[in-house]
Symmetry: C2
Subunit: 408 residues, 2 copies
């Protein structure tokens, strides 16, 4: 598997664009993106588990489940189109109709994504103008992919895209993706929007299976602030143009594509966590020696979500008591007197806790390790062989600043 350029346009037959439609009124930033495939695609997706689902989430769930194929995705940033009642649903339909017309495809082949302020209504005139503009600017150079990745950003500080190529059934298959996400990021599909494109040939059933399994280890393992958004969406669309024998069962080709998707999504998920609102460091939490996978996940998420742990990471402070404390209220039963805790980064690895009490370590050494921009905490529960890894970020002044006046 080789990393290549191009993000969502890396795969054969895909085009993209990103423009400024004026949705973010007070900013000169791009705010609409489009992905288009020359030929019809299969689609699979996972969506927020929040009871309050944004209109585009409900809309896309219906399209993914019931539409014979999809061929385009239209995404806007600035307004989430969540908590907007019936009008919100109608607006999704109108956007899909406008895109269908502009691209000469059925409106049922258009998926919609939105991220931004909850409760506000979409500025439909600006957006239909934006769709026309997007359709005219579609292209397949790496720059076009980047323009799209930039247009879906809200409080993100960097655009997030990646692509790989690999061999499946003697053919070169490409897969690429882009995502956005910075605040309101928490397990169970996070606003987190991720769009993955591939030219792999695969049955809808197998694609759906891969996507469902994948998200558990990737996007559902990141948390910026514990807030599960109303808009979280991860969509994978594939057009089969790579020409590999269609994947219709769980054979080695299936495994190869699953591995590639995991690579893409792990990259994007970590990138999102490290770009958490106000973050200065990516914070990785590995739990090992758990009795069950479920418990490993629970403990790992409890640590990565703790405001106190996150603030300590920001302060480069090896305050391991907060880690043990967060494990303790995770809801998982374990023996605190068995736990070992390590900190690790490019600067080294250090055992901080042995059998539940402080190991004999140097605070200076610990601070050095915690001063890197990617920091890992490892908690060994010594109960079994299961493990889980989650990703988050530190809690900083800037997180508060960004969220105290997000709307203004």
């Amino acid at each position: 598997m080789k990393q290549i350029e191009g993000g969502v346009v890396a795969a054969k037959g895909f085009k993209a664009a990103g423009v400024r439609a004026g949705i973010k009124e007070s900013s000169s930033k791009k705010d609409m993106a489009m992905i288009f495939s020359e030929i019809p695609c299969k689609a699979a997706g996972t969506f927020t588990s929040n009871v309050v689902k944004a209109a585009p989430v409900k809309y896309d769930m219906d399209i993914v489940n019931n539409s014979p194929f999809v061929q385009a995705v239209v995404v806007n940033s600035g307004v989430a189109n969540a908590c907007t009642g019936e009008e919100g649903m109608k607006n999704c339909e109108e956007l899909a109709a406008a895109a269908g017309k502009a691209l000469n495809i059925p409106e049922g082949a258009v998926l919609i994504g939105s991220t931004g302020v909850i409760g506000a209504k979409l500025p439909m005139e600006k957006m239909t103008d934006g769709i026309a503009k997007l359709a005219g600017e579609l292209g397949s150079t790496p720059n076009d992919g980047t323009m799209a990745a930039e247009a879906i950003m809200t409080t993100d500080t960097v655009s997030k895209e990646i692509a790989y190529e690999l061999e499946i059934g003697g053919k070169t298959v490409k897969i690429g993706g882009m995502c956005k996400g910075s605040g309101m990021i928490h397990p169970n599909m996070c606003t987190m929007l991720a769009f993955i494109t591939s030219d792999v040939s695969i049955s809808k059933e197998m694609l759906t299976e891969i996507v469902k399994a994948d998200v558990k280890d990737t996007f559902n393992m990141i948390s910026v602030d514990g807030d599960t958004s109303t808009n979280d969406t991860m969509l994978v669309i594939t057009n089969g143009m790579a020409g590999n024998p269609e994947i219709t069962e769980k054979n080695s080709d299936y495994e190869a594509f699953a591995k590639a998707l995991k690579e893409v999504n792990t990259f994007l998920a970590k990138k999102m966590a490290g770009d958490g609102e106000g973050a200065t460091a990516l914070f990785e939490v590995k739990v090992t020696g758990a009795d069950t996978k479920e418990n490993a996940v629970k403990v790992s998420k409890s640590i990565v979500t703790s405001s106190l742990v996150k603030a300590a990471i920001y302060g480069h402070d090896a305050n391991w008591g907060r880690i043990l404390c967060a494990m303790g209220y995770s809801g998982v039963e374990f023996d605190p007197d068995k736990v070992d805790i390590f900190f690790e980064s490019r600067a080294g690895k250090l055992k901080i806790v042995e059998n539940g009490i402080a190991a004999d370590y140097s605070e200076e050494e610990a601070t050095k390790i915690l001063s890197e921009d990617e920091v890992t905490a490892i908690a060994d529960m010594k109960m079994g062989t299961e493990s889980a890894t989650s990703w988050g970020c530190d809690l900083t002044y800037d997180y508060v600043k960004i969220n105290a006046d997000y709307r203004s």
Copy 2:
């Protein structure tokens, strides 16, 4: 019921003191407190639900359950004596022995409370010196109660105490309490230490019952940061010196004392939430119209805990979408299209959301309401008649600052 002076020394027969023992090395603040009753007391308590329980929590659970009576409480701030293994338990025993000797009571009549840094060991020499000093300074003036309340503070900015007197069985009964708590404050007994004294005459069985019921509506309904501490403790000790007929069944005297305890604990709980680390406002969340009490509690806590909601409160921003979003991931099923949301404070009351979408309200008016130092959000789920109220605070730069370098 009348509010009176004196905190933990308001009730007949109780004395207290607060001194500086030098546990907080880099500070000149008081760090040890003692409460003493002239005669033996009954005790009841509730303790952290964290699997990782600090040594003093385990120690006190044993005393409350097995000791025939208690007569003193020794509390230190600065070091939590949590995650300290067997040595931590041994240190509790030594402190109790030292206090027993100084006060001429059995060591089994001494309760221990600790709050501060997890993982560090108690500086025993300083603390046994501190106990001797405390025993010498015990007094029953309101100032003595305040000295004790000040000595248990960590990142608290104000000391927290209250007392009431009421009539039970023709006698004047007094009840008073003090608490500390600012960070690591979250449902399920929070470091949160609360000590309540009363001269009421009540059976241990009835006292235990009242305490258990009470905490659900008071201390377990506050959250500063979602982190359930290893040390949370609430203790009520009563010496019967008021001379009322002993409360041995759930009669009107029982109800009267339960109401007084609830008044004390609600006051202390709100005071703690409003003094949350870095907080500029007390944030109250009332959920009404829920189908079950349990669901009302879940939804209320989900809102009051959300980092995004809390940051919006800090910004005086009526970002109601975040409230609806937090309700949505609470784990409770409901119809978002039915929910009404209001903001209320001394400056007025405003309907912000009607039936799940924005009501026609003035942002200026909303900002005015949210600029007070006590702010209430009301969410009416319109499903039933159950309700719950929780308390928290806004999320500020200072929360991060305090917790990024708590140990240094």
